[in-house]
Every structure is written in C-alpha cells, then in structure tokens.
C-alpha cells in the first residue's frame, strides 16, 4: 500500500467554449503524459458540451509572476492613461475617431 506511486503530474486545462472565443483556464487534471491528459481533460471538463477545443499544459511549464513583484510588474502601467482613448478630448462633432 505504501508502495503506491507518486501522483501523476498535474496539467492545466484550457478550453475554448465556442469558435471565436479564446481558450480559458478551467482547471487541472492529473495524467502520466500529454495524450492521457487531453483525454482526461475532455472527459472531466466537457461533459456538458462546454468545449470546442482543449489545450493541456504541464503545470510546471507555466512561469508565473511572483505576487511580491506585483508592484514592480504592474504599477508602472497604471500612470500611462494616455494609452487609453478616453485620455483625449474630442472636439464636438468629430466622429469615427
């Protein structure tokens, strides 16, 4: 009993619900390899017809930002509101701009 093998690796699952939509992260599955990960993801995450396409990615291959670096990563973008069209005042009557 104690000889049970370690868990199969974790795969993150991304599902495209319909054509025209982007793949969204929906959860994860365990599987020993990519093929079975896709099968498992299909069986677990699209039982009610939720999917048109599935990606699986080994969880350990995802590189994520560190929450402690959140300020350094994301705050510098906060003061550049000129990147948003609402920053600019439009003269009365101007359209299609």
């Amino acid at each position: 009993m104690s000889a049970a093998p370690a868990d199969w690796p974790l795969w993150e699952v991304f599902v495209r619900a319909r054509r025209g939509l982007t793949h969204l992260h929906v959860g994860s599955v365990h599987a020993p390899d990519a093929e079975l990960a896709l099968h498992n993801a299909r069986d677990l995450h699209t039982r009610r017809g939720e999917g048109a396409s599935i990606w699986v990615v080994p969880a350990e291959h995802i590189t994520a930002t560190d929450p402690d670096d959140k300020d350094a990563y994301f705050d510098p973008a906060l003061d550049k509101d000129f990147r948003h069209p609402g920053h600019f005042e439009l003269p009365e009557g101007v359209e299609h701009l």
Binding site: W8, A31, H39, N40
Partner: protein, 240 residues
C-alpha cells in the same frame, strides 16, 4: 433473420456492453478513469436505447426499450458472447473495449451510409462515439502492454482470453444490412498493429466460441440479466 432481429442484436450488444462497463463506476484505477469509463458506458447505453426503441417499432408489437431490455430471458438475448464476459480486471475491460469498439465503429460507419435512414441516423452519432472509444482503448492497450512486467502479463492474459470470442462478431449474415463477415479483415488490420505496438501477441485461432446470436450464452450471463432486471420485474406494470 428479419430486420427486427438485426437491429435487436445491435441493441443487445450495446446494452450488455454498457451494463458491464457501468460496473466500473467507483471502481476504476484512477478517478479520471472513473469519469472516462462512465462516459463510454453512457454512450453505449444511449446507442442501446435508440436501437431497442427502433427494433420495438419495427416489430410493431408495442415493445419499447424497457420491455425489450427488462422482460426478455437469457435465451431471447442475441448479443455476442464477447460483451457479456465479466471484466476480471482493468486489462480485460480495455482489451474488450478495443475489440468491440473497433468492430462497432466499422459496422456503424457502413450503417451510417446505408439505405435504412433511421438506422443511418443512429449509426452516424455512434460512429463518433465509438471512434473515441477506440482511441481510449488503444491508448490504454499501449500503456498496459508496454508498461510494466505485471501490466504486460495481465494485458496478454486479456488478449488470450478474449481473442477467441472475436470470431463470433464476424459470422456471416448475408441478410443483415451490413454482413459482418466483410468486417473481419478491416478489423484485424486495425487491431493487430495496436497489439503489436503494445508488444502483445495474437493467439492461434483454434477455438471459436459462438452461440450468443441464437441465445446460447455463457453461464455468467444469467446473473448479469438477473441483476439488471430484478427491480423492474418485481413491479409488473409500474412506471419509473
């Protein structure tokens, strides 16, 4: 061999296969596989319901899917022996699914373009389902055959035990919408390479058990039916 008989045997195959597969629910080697096998059982059950309903309609004697499933005895069931064999372990379930789903898929492909449009509709849906079943069974056959010493031993035992029963699937039936005899070659051309890749050996064709199509079943089949029909038969005429 009437049209009723030929649709009924398709329905019986699917029903009995579904009943065996449903036994795996909460018993699979991994939770993910519980979900996968239940999907397959649900597909098979859906095929059985459509086929039995259609058979009952052809017969025109007022028998619906439940009358046909629950109120016939062993001798009246016409499924192949292969699908009624018990799953001694996961290897038997996988190899049996490989053999059966490949057969079903080839048959449904041909029925899907056949003259009987109702049957073609049922088969068209089932082609997609059985394609997935074949893929699932193939992946697992490879993993069990080419996995560990223990898994190879079990997978080979499953192949040895089940292979003889595959012959019955292809017994000639010239009056059926698709004569299964013509499927043996394409079936072997699909199944043999999978077994070879899985390092498994095909046994000799020396024993060809048969009888299911005329209601001569294995002893264990009575228990399968007894279990399946017990509640329904205890309440004659009840609605569920």
């Amino acid at each position: 061999m009437t049209r009723f008989d030929s649709v009924l045997r398709l329905g019986d195959d699917a029903l009995v296969a579904a009943q065996r597969m449903a036994h795996w629910c909460a018993c699979a080697p991994q939770l993910e596989e519980d979900v996968a096998l239940a999907n397959i059982a649900l597909d098979l059950l859906g095929q059985a319901r459509a086929l039995l309903t259609y058979a009952g309609g052809i017969e025109g004697a007022g028998r619906d899917e439940d009358r046909l499933a629950y109120q016939r005895d062993e001798r009246e069931f016409t499924n192949a022996l292969l699908v009624e064999l018990p799953d001694a372990d996961f290897a038997v379930a996988v190899v049996k699914l490989l053999f059966f789903a490949t057969y079903q898929n080839l048959l449904y492909q041909r029925l899907a373009t056949g003259a009987d449009t109702t049957l073609a509709g049922i088969a068209g849906k089932a082609v997609k389902e059985t394609k997935y079943h074949v893929e699932h069974a193939t992946r697992w056959t490879l993993r069990l055959g080419d996995g560990t010493v223990e898994s190879r031993r079990r997978a080979q035992a499953a192949v040895d035990g089940l292979w003889p029963f595959t012959h019955e699937l292809f017994e000639p039936d010239p009056l059926a919408p698709v004569d299964p005899a013509g499927l043996r070659e394409p079936w072997a051309a699909l199944v043999r390479p999978v077994l070879t890749r899985a390092t498994l050996v095909v046994p000799d064709d020396d024993w060809r058990p048969t009888g299911g199509r005329v209601g001569l079943h294995t002893e264990g089949f009575g228990y399968l039916l007894g279990e399946m029909q017990s509640v329904h038969r205890a309440h004659p005429g009840a609605r569920w």
